[in-house]
């Protein structure tokens, strides 16, 4: 059964009749504001959507019911009536002590999960005393050099009682190992703890560019983590396949959807090729999307994502477990949409973006702070961002009903268009041999750079309006208070590292690093046990990454503009 049955039997559809009788006289008197209307991604949008637009959509098969395949309407039968989304605010700066204090503030304010932002040296696997770390320690996130820092970061926070998301990619295995050892020392059971490591290297090559090793050994670390967690840390989300950074780098909404889900498929394929059982490791894969400013396009993106994933897991990989079919995702509002001009406007942008994430059925949410186009957020700005989510959850009423936009002609049509567009990208990437090959050719990178440039041109021509930037500009803006991170974090972390190198057993560290090198040379050996051993004797992130650099080398991209 399709929606439009009965409509097309008339010689003239009702929409045509409406256009002739009602619309045309109106347009003659008062033309529309523009000749064409497009989303922020440049997708043309029609004036009106009716039942006719749903031709080819089977409500039972394509939309379904919440909690049932293909999950277009959500993975939970009760939506947010059972449990609200997790309000998970990304935070980290300076030293582990400073960040530990911020976490305690966020938990006291009603945050329900932690999310760790690491600084660039940590993300790039460099210790604070490496020349490339100059000026970067503690600036964009917290610096974690060794297990000692991880112990401080979670001091007084029971890892058995909370879930933690960690935005870490190239050195994900090392940071995850540190977390596991801290949990163990607190007496928490690895089988029960839960959280997420981002661990999504493909989007690093595509967009975020925090890669260390070449693509193939990087993929091996990830399949080793899949295997390790399936056996030993079964509740952990082993990867957060991320569209967020792809979007921030300038992609369209459709490109974000397509490249992210195709990345997800690539990871599953590598897991299968490594001999893992789909239904054992796929349920531990989660996703991470951007919530940008075009409200309905974003909602359609989330709904399409669930359907595409469910069908790909069932039909492409023959997964039999419902847990493999269900796409769970985190959402963060669009950092790139925040403006340095009139920063209070960002509160409104963030609220609307967050609402799209909620109406799209996100499982957890981070809302950006109003000052993030200028600096890392102040505690006050971060609290207001959390309050934004609480107001949506508790005051707006949108969480009282499951998938309130399901059945909207516009939203269902847009969901279908997003799905069709993503599947067309899948075909293109499959023909190249897969996502690793597509990245090696620079395909997604070029697509994104092209979209970023087109958007910037549209802004310059004022085809797209950004309030306070290219319209409604104010000349005499009062400055706002921002968080200024000085050099003290760098000094403290350098001193701490020096102290660590004096007190730990250097011989034990050397032995553990030799074992790690040996494991890296032997593709059949899982890397997690030797990494855990190295972490326990306080080897640093930089030392462990260097051991792997010795074996695998470093990746260098060919820049594309």
């Amino acid at each position: 059964m399709t929606y439009n049955q009965g409509v097309k039997t008339a010689a003239e559809t009702d929409k045509r009749r409406w256009e002739r009788e009602t619309l045309e006289p109106t347009l003659r008197k008062s033309p529309e504001r523009a000749e064409t209307f497009t989303t922020i991604s440049g997708r043309p949008i029609d004036r009106l959507y009716t039942a006719e637009d749903l031709e080819g959509i089977d409500p039972g098969r394509d939309i379904g019911q919440p909690g049932e395949f293909p999950y277009t309407r959500g993975i939970h039968p009760t939506g947010y009536r059972g449990k609200l989304w997790t309000m998970r605010q990304f935070a980290g700066f300076g030293t582990p002590e400073e960040t530990n204090e911020r976490y305690k503030t966020l938990l006291k304010a009603g945050g329900t999960g932690l999310s760790v932002a690491f600084d660039l040296p940590t993300l790039m696997g460099r210790d604070p005393d490496h020349p490339l770390s100059l000026g970067e320690v503690g600036k964009c996130g917290v610096n974690v050099t060794s297990l000692a820092d991880m112990e401080t970061l979670f001091d007084g926070i029971q890892l058995g009682d909370i879930t933690t998301s960690m935005t870490i990619n190239s050195p994900a295995a090392m940071i995850f190992a540190m977390y596991l050892v801290v949990a163990e020392k607190q007496g928490a059971d690895w089988k029960k703890i839960s959280g997420t490591i981002q661990n999504d290297i493909l989007k690093e090559f595509i967009a975020q560019k925090e890669y260390i090793f070449p693509p193939r050994p990087s993929m091996r670390i990830i399949t080793d983590i899949f295997a390790f967690c399936a056996a030993d840390v079964p509740k952990w989300n082993t990867i957060s396949v991320s569209g967020y950074h792809i979007r921030e780098a300038g992609s369209t909404s459709l490109q974000e959807l397509a490249f992210t889900l195709r990345d997800g498929i690539e990871y599953v394929q590598w897991g299968v090729d490594a001999g893992l059982d789909v239904d054992r490791f796929v349920p531990q894969i989660s996703f991470f999307f951007n919530a940008h400013s075009d409200f309905f396009e974003e909602i359609a993106k989330y709904r399409a994502a669930r359907k595409i994933w469910a069908e790909a897991m069932r039909d492409r990989f023959h997964a039999r477990s419902e847990r493999s079919w269900k796409l769970r995702f985190h959402t963060q509002t669009a950092g790139v949409s925040l403006t340095a001009q009139q920063p209070y406007n960002n509160v409104v942008r963030t609220a609307l973006q967050a609402l799209s994430g909620v109406l799209g059925g996100t499982n957890s949410l981070h809302t950006n702070s109003l000052d993030e186009a200028l600096a890392l957020p102040t505690a006050e700005a971060a609290t207001l961002a959390l309050r934004t989510q609480q107001i949506i959850a508790h005051e707006s009423g949108v969480a009282n009903v499951v998938d309130p936009l399901g059945g909207s002609y516009f939203v269902e049509k847009l969901t279908k268009d997003m799905e069709d567009g993503a599947l067309a990208y899948f075909d293109q990437i499959d023909r190249m041999g897969g996502m690793v090959e597509a990245i090696e050719r620079g395909f997604p990178q070029k697509e994104i750079a092209e979209s970023a440039y087109r958007f910037q041109q549209a802004v310059e021509r004022r085809e797209k309006i950004i309030v306070g930037v290219n319209d409604f500009v104010r000349e005499d803006e009062p400055p706002i208070e921002i968080l200024y991170i000085d050099e003290s974090a760098s000094e403290k972390q350098l001193a701490r590292l020096e102290q660590l190198r004096k007190t730990r057993s250097q011989a034990a560290v050397e032995r553990s690093l030799d074992a790690l090198r040996a494991a890296a040379k032997s593709p059949k050996t899982n890397l997690m046990p030797p990494i855990l051993d190295a972490v326990r004797v306080y080897a640093t992130v930089g030392e462990m990454c260097d051991a792997l650099r010795d074996v695998w080398g470093e990746y260098e991209e060919v820049p594309i503009i």
Partner: protein, 132 residues
């Protein structure tokens, strides 16, 4: 007439290259010769690229907060190599309180988030002295 030669560089560990790539393309479309160095360039590498490419302008994209370390080192090296007539401009996230210091050591223009590309093109055309 010789085209203006611009080296666009991304120093430091940060990989957010959207801005660097967009401005590189805009300057190229405006008729300049653009050399994009790619990611994670040290001040030494940037100065050597400027020398090799006979650059009139160096454009740095910095968002991570490392500018107070990177830029003074770069300006020093330019002086050492006799390249102090190369115009240096920065785009990215730079706190207001750091701007006077950077201008004092010779940075010509600092462009914060939301700056139109045309403004940067006009600034470069208006301030550069083409090297002969």
């Amino acid at each position: 007439m010789r085209k203006l030669r611009v080296v666009i560089a991304k120093p430091g560990l940060d990989g957010h290259d959207r801005g660097a790539k967009v401005i590189a393309r805009a300057l190229r479309d405006a008729g300049m010769e653009v050399i994009y160095t790619g990611l994670r360039q040290t001040p030494e590498q940037i100065v050597s690229a400027a020398l090799q490419e006979d650059a009139d302008v160096i454009g740095l994209s910095i968002l991570s907060g490392a500018h107070n370390h990177i830029v003074p080192r770069l300006m020093e090296l330019l002086k050492e190599k006799g390249l102090d007539d190369v115009m240096v401009v920065i785009g990215g996230i730079i706190p207001d309180m750091d701007i006077p210091k950077l201008k004092d050591i010779g940075v010509k223009g600092i462009f914060l988030p939301g700056t139109p590309m045309q403004e940067i093109i006009d600034f470069i055309n208006g301030h550069v002295r083409a090297r002969v």
